[in-house]
């Protein structure tokens, strides 16, 4: 359960202050699939970054399962990112020289857990890429790379999956595959938040919010 209360984010760009978020109040229920849409510059990535503890709000409060995220220090935020969230990016952001398996294993390296290899293999199996474990990202198609990224996002068994335009770089067939994977994740009880600007992607979510100039526009 996530609760944002009047969250603002101001970026200082030289002498100009940019209001990326202008008072967002939002709750995301556990097990929900939420789409955030909006034009570029509307603040949707900033919102996702704040949700994912990659960034701190300038003002307002953020409660994550009762924890006041604003009070956490850098190390605690890192631990939140490691344990509670799985990120999927538009650019996949895989380590280019590492195998798919190592890419999936990466979050576990930072959480000191056992059976890392087995858990990474399991996550790869879950996205249907067990056979590609030892391939490098460059040897995989875009859809496959994004599935590796999803395996990496879920390997630490987080309750939230945050995806920033996950299909932005994919063809329509891969887009359908990936969306099916997100649906499956959601059916398994994980909360999924997807940023997109494609209406038919948003339509697959149970709820859609539209951002405009850092505010939530009408439903």
């Amino acid at each position: 359960m996530i609760k944002l209360e009047n969250v603002t984010k101001v970026y200082q760009m030289g002498e100009i202050a940019v209001n990326a978020l202008n008072g967002i109040t939002l709750s995301v229920a556990k097990g929900e699939m939420l789409a955030i849409i909006g034009a570029s510059g509307s603040g949707k990535s900033t919102l996702l970054n704040i949700l994912g503890c990659l960034d701190k709000p300038t003002s307002g409060s953020y409660l994550f399962e009762g924890i006041d995220v604003g009070r956490l220090n850098d190390n605690q935020l890192a631990e939140m990112r490691n344990r509670k969230f799985g990120f999927v990016f538009q650019q996949f952001n895989l380590l280019p020289r590492a195998t798919a398996l190592y890419n999936v294993e990466l979050p576990l390296v930072y959480s000191n857990v056992y059976h890392r290899r087995e858990r990474a293999v399991e996550a790869l199996e879950w996205v249907g890429l067990a056979g590609r474990a030892n391939h490098k990202p460059t040897e995989l198609s875009g859809g496959e790379q994004q599935r590796v990224a999803i395996a990496r996002a879920l390997v630490n068994n987080p309750s939230f999956i945050l995806a920033d335009e996950p299909t932005g770089n994919l063809d329509s067939k891969s887009t359908n595959d990936i969306m099916a994977v997100f649906q499956r994740l959601n059916r398994e009880g994980r909360t999924v938040v997807i940023i997109t600007h494609e209406a038919d992607i948003a339509s697959q979510a149970q709820r859609t919010i539209r951002l405009c100039d850092g505010r939530i526009a009408d439903r």
Partner: protein, 418 residues
């Protein structure tokens, strides 16, 4: 993140860029090899000085002239105004005040051409007394050494060092032959056994010995300020090592008396034990060694700058990777440690190769010959340890700034970089 994982991560990222890693290491490799190689030469020189003196003789005390203006023992070693005379040597040998003195050899030395038949060589001509063999540990191979009688009669006789014999006579038996020095003929009465080794780069077997009186009157006349026939050095052998320090004081008393120095006058001679000479020379070679090491150490610093440079490039290049690592839960200190370990591994591997290089340099140097005598090199473990420790330290210091830059990167900016 476990340390082992940090180590594996660092090693992996270094091995993906093998050529770059190797080139980065090169500065440290050269630095460590240079430090070890050069310092082995310095240490070798030091070891050689010590062993040279040990060969010279045991329990020896050296008396050398010193004018009050020439301070410091080393300046006097090179030679000053003559103030010692044969009378001094006799006084030392015959004084009841000096119970521990076993032998006294006054020595004067000069270089001259020595010829026999059609051949000639230039060598050291030493004027001394019969005690010379005992004090400086020489033995007669054939014939006889100069005798008190030779001294008294200023006989035109010489005893030859082994190398002089080989160079001048080849296979001919030299005893009984006559050699020519400064236009005068000298009869060879004896040959010394080879002693081997060299003292300060000069072979100890390359000498011609003649009675000190002959040397003074017929070859190289030199007088002290008071008009006596000068000797350059007096070497005294003490019977018992325990008595060396006491004997030094006694010798000073005797010589001050002989030289009629009043209480407020400074000594016009220096009395130094062999240990003191070795100590002084060791100090000099020690400074020399440190200087060599410091010069070589500069290349270590340059190597460190190379590491910093490449690490900075690497951090910039891997900005996205750093962002991603942070997004999946890496803490600042995880990132810091990864990059510091990369720098440390680079410098450690570099110094490892450098140590091998240093041994190779040391070995090759010891096979070189300069002036007929081999250069001695000694690779000491402490130098190796210090060189490795310093280079790893330099690696860590160089890696610190890039690693801190990496650790401070904002994950969002880093993720969208480039």
């Amino acid at each position: 993140m476990r340390f082992k994982d940090s180590l594996i991560t660092a090693a992996k990222s270094l091995s993906t860029n093998k050529l770059r890693s190797l080139l980065t290491m090169l500065g440290i490799v050269i630095g460590v090899a240079a430090v070890i190689g050069l310092m082995s030469v310095g240490r070798g020189a030091s070891a050689r000085v010590t062993s040279s003196f040990e060969q010279l003789g045991t329990n020896a005390i050296y008396i050398i002239p010193r004018s009050p203006s020439e301070m410091g023992g080393l300046a006097a070693l090179v030679g000053g105004t003559p103030s010692l005379s044969l009378d001094d040597a006799e006084a030392l040998a015959n004084s009841d005040y000096l119970p521990s003195v076993a032998a006294v050899a006054p020595i004067s030395e000069s270089y001259s051409e020595v010829s026999w038949g059609g051949d000639s060589i230039t060598t050291a001509i030493k004027g001394t007394t019969p005690d010379y063999t005992q004090v400086l540990n020489y033995h007669i191979a054939s014939g006889q050494f100069i005798s008190p009688r030779n001294i008294a009669h200023r006989d035109m006789v010489v005893v030859l060092g082994d190398k002089v014999v080989t160079d001048l006579f080849g296979d001919t038996e030299p005893v009984g032959q006559r050699v020519k020095i400064k236009g005068r003929r000298f009869t060879v009465i004896g040959v010394l056994e080879p002693k081997g080794g060299a003292f300060m780069g000069v072979s100890q077997d390359e000498l011609v010995i003649t009675p000190i009186t002959t040397f003074q009157t017929r070859l190289f006349a030199q007088r002290t300020a008071s008009g006596k026939r000068a000797v350059q050095t007096i070497v005294v052998q003490v019977a018992d090592a325990q008595a060396i320090d006491r004997t030094i004081g006694e010798i000073e008393d005797v010589l001050r008396y002989c030289h009629r120095l009043s209480a407020d006058e400074e000594d016009d001679f220096s009395v130094i034990s062999q240990e003191q000479v070795v100590g002084m020379l060791k100090e000099v070679t020690g400074v020399f060694t440190i200087l060599l090491g410091a010069i070589a150490g500069i290349s270590l610093v340059v190597g460190g700058i190379g590491i910093m440079n490449i690490m900075l490039v690497s951090v910039t290049e891997r900005t996205r990777e750093i962002g991603l690592r942070k997004a999946v839960g890496a803490r600042r200190r995880d990132i810091l440690r990864q990059f510091l370990l990369e720098a440390a591994l680079l410098s450690l591997a570099g110094s490892g190769i450098g140590v091998i290089g240093g041994f190779v340099i040391s070995h090759l140097t010891s096979r070189m010959n300069i002036g007929g005598s081999a250069i001695m090199t000694v690779v000491s473990p402490d130098v190796v340890g210090i060189a490795v420790a310093v280079s790893v330290g330099i690696g860590l210091i160089s890696g610190m700034y890039p690693a801190m830059r990496a650790a401070r990167l904002n994950p969002i900016d880093a993720l969208h970089y480039g």
